[in-house]
């Protein structure tokens, strides 16, 4: 090797060494961080962030400890000196330019250069790297073992795991059975693929086709399948050895079944049905009752969301238009479509702008609509009926309801109408009159509106022109607060009281009425503002709304009952209660209630018998009858709700045969029976009294009568 190449070789060595170190640190930090994942999961910390945090932490520490960034040529040379004695602590000389070296140094360089390239230079760091690699592998293995262990999984995923249709259930499988394969073909509407399972407990969608394929160890003459303890169906042998059997059935109902091998019955297995729920429709907009006032755009934005468990087929708005009045009301039905493709979507948010004028809605008409949706299975569901009405300005202005009947309403109820008429008239005439005239009349209208507002304001105790409804009691409320003379109690009291001139003016409206009045005043304020600023077109909606609210108020005050004169017929008292009664029969009825539901009583007795069985007493003859009765009731319950009652039915069968008392089995039955009995109403009872009461009774009688 050439002397000049020594330096290059050292640089090369340095790079490789650094790389090895980095790899080693990477391995170690990866291993530690991996091991941290299950711990993070255990403490419910996000595993990924935990992993990255620990990884970077260890990495940084490793880099600092190993001084990765401080590895230079000279440190590498020192490293080489340490590890190779033949270099005689002179490696550093190679780094210096040859010419600068002294004679002695040159000699030394010549001496050591012959050892280059050094053999086994990476022996030690390589070994370390391999060890760290092994550590990483070990960490991976540990992680794999922990992750696959069921116990830990349940701890970690227990809460978040949703119910899986193919949950493993512990089952007692008859010895004859070699293999089970149950094919569940969900119905088309679910859009789900066929699945296979090797357990008897079935959880299937409504209408799913279930096919049982049962292989037996030995030839069996006959296999029956019994559904809900009532329907018995024979399985077909699929081969000539009578060791393979099959049967298929469309399942629409929950229940349970069992297999029968040549008369030997198996355990009970449950069939649970996943029902297809109808589409849930939720309307976010508009409100259930919307009124479109004059001036508002006659358009309604409909926002709704539909959700179904398997898929939505179709949805549309069914709208009914009600127009006309009284006997002349006519209804038109319309079907409005959402212009969105729904096919098969499970959840969708729909938008539709209903243009009322396009539908032909006129003022005073109403639109009723609801959303109808059909899911893949053909199940229909519909939303509540929503109503949109357009306020009828013509109706408001009509005299109907005021001209007839009792007109108890004072004149000022009409002037809002007058203002509207005047406003509309002014608007019409705007082009023909001068600007000044227009402004003047507009201002006058505003003044009228103000006066009207103030009149209504009075009802609410509104005193100043600036507030609405006159709430609160300002310090400066218009009363004269004269200097209070010392000792003048009345004056002192007046300071804190809110006295009015005329007591009759104080109104006692119901809060609801007050609130409505206040709303009217609000609208009047709005109208006045626009009138005074000559924006007549803008003022109209406020005027109309004020009038509509006033009309509503007016209708409220129209509960009225007319007085009529009563002239009773004079009674002849001597003739009272003197009629002949001999032809009046005295009806007598006799009936006895027949309690047809004796099952509950049986169940109650059975509970006590099971309680006795817990303490080891065997069943007697009569008690076995009760067990039978309980079993029939449990069978019918289990056929409807296998999830709740099948386990109890199984236990009941076990308990009625078993010689050994298994308390947990009995408790399962008791719990189920308790649920079957349900909550009972309290019934009247007599109280018991101990015979020792005789003594006090005797005493009582003696006190009362003087003798016993």
């Amino acid at each position: 090797m050439l002397k000049t190449e020594g330096k290059n070789w050292i640089t090369d060595f340095k790079v490789k060494l650094t790389l090895l170190y980095v790899l080693q640190i990477l391995c170690i930090s990866l291993a530690i961080a991996l091991l941290f994942i299950p711990i993070a999961k255990y403490f419910e910390v996000n595993p990924i962030s935990g992993f990255s945090l620990i990884f970077s932490l260890v990495l940084v520490v490793g880099f600092i400890v190993k001084k990765i960034f401080k590895i230079t040529n000279s440190t590498t040379a020192k490293y080489l000196d340490e590890h190779f004695t033949q270099l005689e602590e002179s490696t550093e000389l190679l780094l210096k330019p040859y010419a600068e070296l002294s004679l002695l140094e040159q000699l030394q360089v010549n001496k050591i250069v012959q050892f280059f390239p050094l053999q086994n230079g990476f022996k030690k760091p390589l070994k370390r790297f391999l060890i760290s690699l092994a550590v990483l592998l070990l960490a991976c293995t540990i992680l794999f073992i922990i992750d696959s262990s069921a116990l830990f999984n349940s701890k970690i995923f227990g809460n978040s795991k949703s119910f899986n249709t193919s949950t493993k259930v512990k089952e007692n499988i008859p010895a004859e059975i070699k293999s089970i394969s149950i094919k569940i073909a969900p119905p088309a509407y679910t859009n789900q693929s066929v699945r296979n399972q090797s357990q008897f407990t079935i959880k299937a969608e409504t209408g799913a086709k279930v096919t049982w394929l049962i292989g037996t160890n030995i030839a069996v003459k006959k296999i029956n399948i019994i559904f809900n303890n009532t329907a018995i169906v024979a399985l077909k042998a699929a081969n000539n050895d009578f060791t393979k059997w099959s049967y298929s059935k469309v399942i629409n109902q929950s229940g349970f079944y069992q297999l029968e091998f040549d008369g030997k019955k198996s355990d009970l297995y449950q069939i649970e049905i996943i029902p297809d729920l109808p589409i849930a429709i939720k309307i976010h907009e508009p409100k259930i009752h919307t009124t479109i006032d004059f001036g508002q755009i006659p358009k309604v934005n409909l926002v709704c969301s539909l959700t179904d468990d398997y898929g939505i087929k179709d949805a549309y708005i069914s709208a009914t238009l009600a127009s006309g009045k009284g006997e002349g009301v006519s209804f038109t039905e319309k079907k409005l479509l959402f212009n969105v493709s729904l096919a098969g979507k499970k959840s969708i948010k729909l938008n539709k702008l209903i243009d009322l004028t396009a539908l032909g809605l006129k003022p005073g008409d109403e639109l009723y609509f609801y959303i109808k949706a059909i899911d893949n299975n053909g199940q229909m569901s519909r939303s509540d009926v929503y109503l949109v009405s357009i306020a009828d300005t013509a109706e408001l202005l009509s005299m109907a309801g005021m001209a007839n009947g009792v007109d108890l309403v004072p004149e000022y109820f009409r002037s809002q109408r007058q203002i509207i008429i005047d406003t509309e008239k002014l608007l019409k005439e705007q082009s023909s009159i001068t600007d000044q005239e227009f402004k003047n009349r507009s201002n006058n209208l505003g003044l009228d509106q103000k006066l009207l507002r103030l009149r209504y304001g009075k009802f609410l105790g509104e005193e100043s022109e600036t507030e609405i409804g006159g709430e609160g009691h300002a310090d400066d409320d218009g009363h004269d607060h004269a200097e209070i003379k010392y000792g003048d109690v009345q004056a002192l009291m007046d300071q804190y009281a809110h006295k009015h001139d005329i007591a009759e003016d104080a109104t006692f409206f119901e809060p609801e009425l007050k609130a409505q009045l206040k709303a009217v005043l609000n609208e009047m304020w709005g109208s006045e503002l626009r009138l005074r600023t000559f924006k007549l077109q803008e003022a109209l909606p406020f005027e109309y709304k004020a009038l509509r609210l006033l009309k509503e108020l007016q209708q409220k005050s129209r509960v009225y009952v007319a007085k009529t004169k009563l002239s009773p017929v004079k009674l002849k008292l001597e003739k009272r209660l003197s009629g002949e009664l001999d032809k009046i029969t005295q009806p007598k009825s006799n009936s006895t209630f027949e309690n047809k539901d004796l099952g509950k009583e049986d169940l109650k007795l059975l509970l006590a018998i099971l309680e006795q069985r817990k303490s080891g007493k065997s069943f007697k003859y009569g008690e076995r009858e009760l067990l039978k009765s309980g079993e029939t009731q449990l069978i019918s319950a289990a056929a409807n709700q296998p999830v709740s009652y099948l386990a109890a039915l199984k236990s009941l069968r076990k308990v009625s045969i078993a010689n050994k008392v298994v308390i947990s089995d009995i408790e399962i039955i008791q719990k189920a029976i308790k649920n079957l009995i349900g909550l009972e109403e309290v019934q009247p009872q007599k109280q018991d009294v101990s015979p020792s009461i005789n003594l006090s009774n005797g005493y009582f009688n003696y006190l009362k009568n003087g003798k016993e």
Binding site: I584, I669, P684
Partner: protein, 595 residues
């Protein structure tokens, strides 16, 4: 005495013989000394056999007996000076260093140690029978801390069908951990309570029992995941005792109609009569035979437990009929009078009614007085209320505290006045439970009580295996009953003062449900294991011992010191020394001095 005399005679003969031998001896140099030594030797020999005693008068502290019982903590034991005894050898069997001696039988021990005047009892104390033996002694009770656990509990031993089982008690939790108390029965958790660390709470569990017959529920306490204890709650559900009801209506209204149907469906015997016209009635006999109800008389009323009548009908019936009703109530029948009008009939009393002016409320809520029941609201405003006087018991009140149903004793029976007129609204609103609850309470309060022919009580109330139990049977006559416990005949003893009470003592041997028969009627009695309800038993013992010791303290003055004549004995070592000296001298004189 005989023995002493023999000893003395033999010794005198021996002394005479020795003196004679001394006199005969040739060497007479030390004769007098030798004779003296011989005499002393024989005398001391005699007193070695018969000890010398003399009498002295001495003052001394009273002898005390320290009895350690369950629950005593080790610190207390180590602080006790003097000897310590226990009655249960298993108590501190693992701690030998405490040096507790065991007493097999307390009575025997006290007989043996007559000097004991005072007994110190440590821990939870002794049971009743043991305390009885200490009646003559001065007692000092050093109670242990109240035990942790259920220290008081009660529940109905017998429940009627559809009645609720109520378990109430006190839980004392000394530990630093919270305890969860759970009522478990028929395979399900029925109710639960939470006891915070270092606290004492009153708990109350309520559950509707479902079975008819016996059942054992369990009261389980959990500390974290550990089960502290599971105590049995045995109880019996008896079939319901139906009541016979007579309803007299002035006219049929909805209230009657609903009540009639409800009682009919629940299979009660109901006779319903409503007036059609003057002396003309329509009558329904539900679940019972037809009978003549045109006249109300004693014979008819005797069959009835409750008579429900409205105010109008009450005033329209004849005075004879009213008198018959009064007599029947006097003999125990219940009478419920419905008030419907705010103003009473001219013929009928006011029954303390008053009307409040129209209320704006549209609903009305009632509560049962003294019962923890919340009723749903009735959809009408009630304006008619009753005044509760000193003789009245308010049974139902409005939520504002005004009485709507009053009860009053009349003779042995009860008269209930109700101003509620439309309880059927509950049924209409689908609140059947409220409706049945209301009428059940009303009928229970009113109905004639059923007199049992016999009843049994046990002392102590918790029958425990192997412990003596006293049974007291109360009978309706004074004849000796046939008593048997699990078919073993018991021979009862008549009570001296109350001849209808008989008692017998027995020892139950089988845990669980046992049969007890009086005059061929079998009842159930539950026998507990010795370990059941230990905290409760210990708390009871604490109370018993403290009250017993306080009672004793009041009777006996504190005797600290006593003077006594005591026979004291001279130590035999002195006599033996004399014997040795004299005998030694005799030997030495013969061996060395004589030569």
């Amino acid at each position: 005495m005989e023995f002493k005399l023999t000893v003395f005679i033999i010794c005198i003969i021996l002394a005479l013989f020795l003196i004679f031998k001394e006199l005969k001896r040739k060497n007479k140099t030390n004769l007098s000394w030798r004779i003296l030594a011989s005499i002393f030797m024989v005398v001391s020999f005699a007193f070695l056999i018969v000890p010398i005693t003399y009498q002295t008068v001495k003052e001394q502290a009273t002898a005390e007996l320290n009895l350690i019982t369950e629950g005593t903590d080790v610190d207390t034991i180590t602080k006790i000076k003097g000897e310590k005894f226990d009655l249960d050898s298993n108590l501190f069997s693992d701690q030998k260093n405490l040096k507790i001696k065991h007493i097999e039988d307390l009575a025997y021990f006290l007989q043996e140690n007559k000097d004991i005047k005072k007994v110190n009892i440590y821990g939870y104390g002794l049971d009743q029978t043991q305390l009885k033996q200490l009646q003559a002694y001065q007692l000092s009770f050093h109670p242990a801390a109240i035990p942790s656990g259920i220290i008081s509990v009660s529940w109905q031993k017998e429940v009627s069908a559809t009645e609720n089982l109520t378990i109430q008690g006190v839980y004392n939790n000394y530990s630093n951990q919270d305890v969860k108390l759970k009522l478990f029965g028929l395979g399900a958790n029925l109710d639960s309570a939470f006891v915070k660390s270092n606290s004492k709470i009153n708990f109350s569990f309520n559950t509707q029992q479902k079975q008819s017959g016996n059942a054992i529920y369990q009261l389980i306490a959990f500390k974290g995941k550990d089960t502290l204890f599971a105590e049995p709650i045995p109880f019996e559900v008896k079939p319901k005792k139906p009541i016979q009801i007579l309803i007299l209506a002035s006219f049929p209204d909805f209230e009657y109609k609903f009540l009639k149907n409800w009682l009919y469906e629940k299979q009660y015997q109901v006779v319903f009569r409503s007036q059609i016209s003057k002396d003309k009635y329509s009558s329904d006999f539900l679940n019972t035979k037809a009978m003549d109800v045109s006249r109300i008389n004693q014979a008819l009323l005797k069959q009835m437990d409750v008579l429900l009548i409205d105010e109008n009908e009450m005033s329209s019936i004849s005075a004879v009929e009213r008198a018959a009703i009064n007599t029947a109530v006097n003999n125990g029948m219940g009478l419920i009078i419905r008030l419907t009008n705010a103003i009473s009939n001219p013929n009928s009393p006011k029954y303390g009614r008053y009307e409040i002016p129209f209320v704006p409320a549209t609903t009305f809520t009632i509560t049962a007085v003294n019962e923890n029941i919340k009723f749903s609201e009735l959809p009408f405003p009630q304006t008619l209320f009753l005044e509760t006087t000193l003789n009245d018991q308010a049974l139902f009140k409005s939520s504002t505290g005004k009485t709507v149903v009053n009860g009053q004793l009349y003779g042995m029976g009860k008269v209930l006045i109700s101003s509620l007129s439309s309880t059927y609204q509950w049924e209409l609103a689908g609140k059947g439970t409220d409706y049945s609850m209301f009428w059940s309470i009303l009928f229970l309060k009113a109905a004639k009580k059923e007199l049992k022919n016999q009843s049994i009580e046990f002392f102590p109330q918790f029958l425990t295996i192997g412990s003596s139990t006293k049974l007291i049977a109360t009978l309706s006559d004074n004849k000796a009953p046939n008593l048997a416990f699990n078919d073993i005949k018991l021979n009862p003893k008549q009570n001296m003062e109350l001849p209808f009470k008989w008692d017998a003592v027995f020892w139950p041997t089988i845990a669980g449900w046992n049969k007890i028969t009086i005059n061929n009627i079998t009842e159930n009695a539950f026998v507990y294991q010795t370990s059941d309800w230990s905290a409760l038993k210990n708390a009871d013992k604490l109370n018993l011992n403290s009250s017993f010791s306080i009672h004793q303290l009041n009777q006996k003055e504190d005797l600290k010191l006593t003077t006594e004549n005591i026979d004291e004995e001279i130590s035999k070592w002195w006599i033996f020394a004399v014997f040795l000296l004299t005998a030694g001298y005799l030997w030495y004189e013969q061996r060395f001095l004589a030569n």
